[in-house]
């Protein structure tokens, strides 16, 4: 069973449609016990880090996700869901994350050239840094869709792909079986669907 975590942050419509399109059954759930039993976990998220981590903690999903991931259940964090995997975020203050991948979520404006628009929004080609199972059907230079104002920093050795936007921004990460992508695979056309398929298959 693949658990798609619903914790009240963002809209799951597109992700649900994407899994339907690739013929993959997923269980949408906010129940920590279901997450603990899952074969794979998808942690989505849109909005503010503080709200998202707060909701995860309130519901006990934070422990369920970290326990499962540490027990070897493959986990994919998407967009804000990826940012939650790190040690902390500096979005509107300083908030602790799930500590599954070492790194800090920082504002894009600190690294990109002045004058570039924020958020980083649009289609940007992936610059591959390391092999990763989720890139089984994806090549260097394939474009994916980004919408974000914060990025994962200080996680160099875990970066599997980057995107150029006045600086190289972290596009995806992997540490053991914990995966994260800053972009939205569910909004990245056929390339994004291939990535979701690869995560489900491996």
């Amino acid at each position: 069973m693949i658990a798609l975590i619903d914790y009240g942050v963002g809209n799951l419509f597109s992700l649900i449609s994407s899994f339907a399109a690739i013929g993959q059954e997923v269980t949408v759930t906010g129940d920590p016990e279901a997450v603990r039993r899952a074969d794979k976990i998808i942690l989505p998220g849109v909005g503010a880090f503080r709200d998202a981590i707060g909701l995860l903690r309130e519901s006990g999903l934070d422990r369920a996700v970290t326990d499962a991931a540490k027990g070897g259940t493959p986990l994919l964090g998407i967009c804000l869901g990826m940012q939650l995997l790190f040690d902390k975020s500096l979005e509107y203050g300083e908030y602790e994350g799930l500590h599954l991948i070492p790194g800090v979520v920082r504002p894009i404006r600190d690294v990109i050239s002045p004058g570039l628009k924020i958020p980083h929004i649009g289609w940007n080609p992936l610059i591959m840094k390391q092999e990763s199972p989720i890139f089984k059907y994806v090549k260097d230079g394939d474009c994916v869709y980004f919408v974000h104002s914060y990025y994962a920093a200080d996680c160099g050795e875990y970066v599997t792909a980057a995107a150029e936007y006045g600086a190289e921004l972290t596009a995806s990460v992997q540490k053991e079986l914990v995966f994260g992508c800053q972009f939205h695979p569910e909004k990245s056309g056929e390339i994004g669907l291939r990535m979701l398929r690869a995560f489900c298959e491996f």
Partner: protein
């Protein structure tokens, strides 16, 4: 390097895609669900769905069609038309829209953009402005281009962005439907005053119009058009290849 986006716009009324010339003389093109799925799989970078229905029945039908469409579209989907309050944002976002574009609704209630941006985030709120020259001044028009609001266009757009609009669609009524190229003069004025993505709309007739747009105004992020795509006068894969050949970053799926 971020790519320049190409965005087909689907005007939907009574469950069908229509496209007018200068907003009049509408005629049927195709089923919105089929057309949207086709674009999603054939190189479009984003879709805009515009509800031009007036009645409550039409609105309900639109919402059903939007849901069906969103299930088959795996690129960003923006919805506009009939967005008058925050509950309208909620209604279309639940049907699978990623962004919501406001036009007349923001003119009637200038606080709407701020309220929606706080609730759903700036990236979700698009200000769509229909602007036309009247006695040499850019004026904002409401109600699908029929009513001159008397407001000055550039300062209106600047205000909307300050309120929290994360993107601007600038539709020049002067060039819309004329197919002689985008309104570069108007677009340049908007690019000077905002630092969010600007989407050019109105006037595209051929591939070269997009090349000229992106070459002349590097700050423009996207080009939007309707009939030239729906009628196959410009094929998006050909357009993308021409952009790449001209040194303009474009997304081509392989």
């Amino acid at each position: 390097m971020i790519t320049k986006r190409i965005i087909p716009c689907l005007d939907v009324r009574n469950g069908r895609v229509v496209k007018g010339v200068n907003f009049e003389g509408l005629n049927d093109v195709a089923s919105p669900v089929e057309l949207a799925a086709y674009y999603s799989a054939n190189g479009a970078d984003e879709l805009v769905f515009y509800d031009i229905t007036a009645s409550a029945e039409g609105r309900a039908l639109f919402t059903d069609i939007l849901t069906e469409t969103a299930k088959r579209v795996f690129i960003p989907l923006t919805v506009g038309g009939g967005i008058n309050d925050v509950s309208d944002f909620d209604r279309v976002l639940k049907c699978g829209a990623d962004k919501v574009s406001v036009n007349s609704g923001a003119i009637r209630n200038p606080k709407l953009i701020g309220e929606a941006a706080k609730r759903y985030g700036d990236q979700c709120v698009v200000i769509s402005a229909d602007v036309k020259r009247v006695d040499g001044v850019f004026r904002v028009f409401a109600k699908g281009g029929r009513e001159n609001t008397g407001m000055e266009g550039i300062s209106w757009i600047k205000y909307c962005v300050e309120e929290g609009a994360g993107e601007v669609v600038l539709n020049s009524i002067d060039t819309d439907g004329v197919k002689q190229g985008f309104d570069l003069e108007m677009l340049e004025k908007v690019c000077e005053v905002v630092n969010v993505p600007v989407i050019a709309s109105g006037g595209a007739g051929k591939i070269d119009d997009f090349i000229t747009l992106f070459r002349t105004l590097p700050k423009v992020d996207a080009g939007l058009a309707a009939s030239i795509f729906h009628f196959g006068e410009v094929k998006i894969p050909d357009l993308k290849q021409a952009m790449r050949d001209a040194g303009i970053p474009a997304r081509i799926e392989r």
